[in-house]
């Protein structure tokens, strides 16, 4: 997957890989929501748990930090915005701006929470097969009474897996188009509208042609919306994990 290697499925057979996808997806959503309310000690606790889990699925810290470097810049911006724009006791003054005590502690907490949530989704994506994600989304959507499983949930799940399939293809196509333009000396053209058009039209036209081919291939293979999905089994262990995560979230939210 060109340029987006961290967020990929990492084959394996660890505790997280065998866990029922539905449990994982539900836990991801619950924990993400809980993170927003966690204070400093609770965030620290979660970070330690996450570090342990990362070791468990053999994800190297080097690849994570390389893939997330842009995100870290974003976190830094969030932190600085908080640190400078929160009123309170002044800490350091730079030009006309002052960093406040309250701002710094606030900023650290918020940046930390965002970081935790990214780590959670990274764990989920790297320990779950894309086809399993599709089935889990379908099942969880079907829980809601106003979403019929046949009509909506299946479509949404299929579209989601199609998105994941299209992304690497588009990235490669975009790279190819940019290179082709460079080879033809696009840099000499200063008009940005011209460049955007000359970039987007071939890119989108080609990806649409590929999509047409995909539609034909799906029809030729008798695609239908009621196909047999892989069986999902949850054992006692899955229930245990689910109960544990739920308790943890409730404790943090109430406390």
């Amino acid at each position: 997957m060109a340029g987006l290697t961290a967020f990929n499925y990492l084959p394996g057979n660890t505790f997280l890989h065998v866990l029922d996808v539905r449990v994982k997806l539900a836990a991801l959503v619950m924990l993400s929501l809980t993170c927003i309310r966690a204070d400093l000690t609770e965030s620290l606790m979660m970070t330690l748990c996450l570090l342990f889990l990362f070791r468990a699925i053999h994800l190297s810290f080097r690849s994570i930090s390389r893939e997330l470097r842009y995100f870290i810049v974003l976190l830094l911006i969030v932190f600085l915005a908080r640190a400078f724009f929160t009123p309170g006791r002044p800490l350091i003054g730079i030009w006309s701006l002052t960093m406040t005590h309250q701002g710094v502690s606030d900023g650290i907490l918020i940046a930390w929470r965002l970081f935790l949530i990214i780590m959670l989704s990274l764990l989920f994506v790297s320990s779950t097969r894309p086809s399993d994600i599709k089935v889990a989304v379908e099942r969880l959507l079907a829980i809601f009474p106003f979403i019929s499983r046949k009509k909506v949930a299946v479509k949404v799940a299929v579209m989601m897996s199609l998105i994941l399939r299209f992304i690497p293809e588009i990235v490669n196509q975009a790279k190819e188009t940019l290179d082709a333009q460079k080879a033809r000396g696009i840099e000499n053209r200063k008009n940005p509208v011209y460049r955007l058009i000359k970039f987007a039209v071939p890119l989108i036209r080609r990806t649409f042609e590929n999509a047409d081919r995909l539609a034909l291939a799906m029809e030729a293979r008798c695609y239908s919306e009621n196909r047999t999905d892989p069986e999902l089994v949850s054992t006692q262990k899955d229930l245990l994990v689910f109960a544990g995560v739920t308790c943890f979230c409730l404790i943090i939210i109430i406390a």
């Binding site: 993400s32 199609l162 058009i197 989108i204 649409f208």
Partner: protein
């Protein structure tokens, strides 16, 4: 049978545009001092090409995929928290925006003036949702929120709208050929 084929095609196109939006969050075209990020460009284009109904479906699935933790938002990140983060308002604003763009473009029968009006309305809706959210989350003043969250992007938006009109004109026959 024909209806089925049409449905499948539109579904694939909607996923494709959602995927393009996701990629648009990664690739930036180096033009001038501020690189243009193509995410909202593809949102507008989705409305123009697919119309309000399928456009809404495409954006909804895109946001849902992000909420489930798939890496489709800017900076290679996903997760439900992005909606609670500082840029969450823009993301939620995509939904009404694509709907309105689709509606106006359909009513205007794909005439150029209507396309432009549609996209200007769409961009305005995105900012109308995004800026107050940014102000609330980062506790900025109104003036600062506009300076940080809207003014630097206006020129880029004008360029994107100018580019989207001819692009939509070229691509519509491909989508509508069924």
């Amino acid at each position: 049978m024909m209806a089925d084929t049409n449905q499948l095609r539109m579904m694939i196109y909607a996923s494709l545009l959602a995927a393009l939006t996701a990629v648009g969050a990664y690739i930036a075209i180096p033009i001038g001092p501020v690189p243009i990020v193509l995410q909202n460009f593809f949102i507008l284009l989705t409305g123009l090409l697919l119309g309000s109904r399928w456009g809404l479906a495409a954006v909804a699935v895109y946001l849902l995929a992000g909420a489930c933790g798939l890496p489709v938002f800017a900076g290679g990140s996903g997760g439900i928290v992005r909606f609670a983060g500082p840029t969450g308002g823009y993301l939620l604003g995509y939904l009404p925006a694509v709907c309105v763009v689709g509606l106006i473009a359909e009513k205007g029968r794909n005439r150029m003036v209507f396309d432009i009006i549609a996209m200007i309305c769409g961009s305005a809706i995105i900012y109308a949702c995004g800026v107050p959210w940014l102000k609330m989350i980062l506790s900025l003043s109104w003036g600062k929120a506009f300076v940080v969250g809207m003014v630097p992007f206006l020129i880029g938006d004008a360029l994107k709208i100018a580019a989207a009109v001819p692009i939509a004109k070229v691509l519509r026959p491909i989508v509508k050929k069924i």
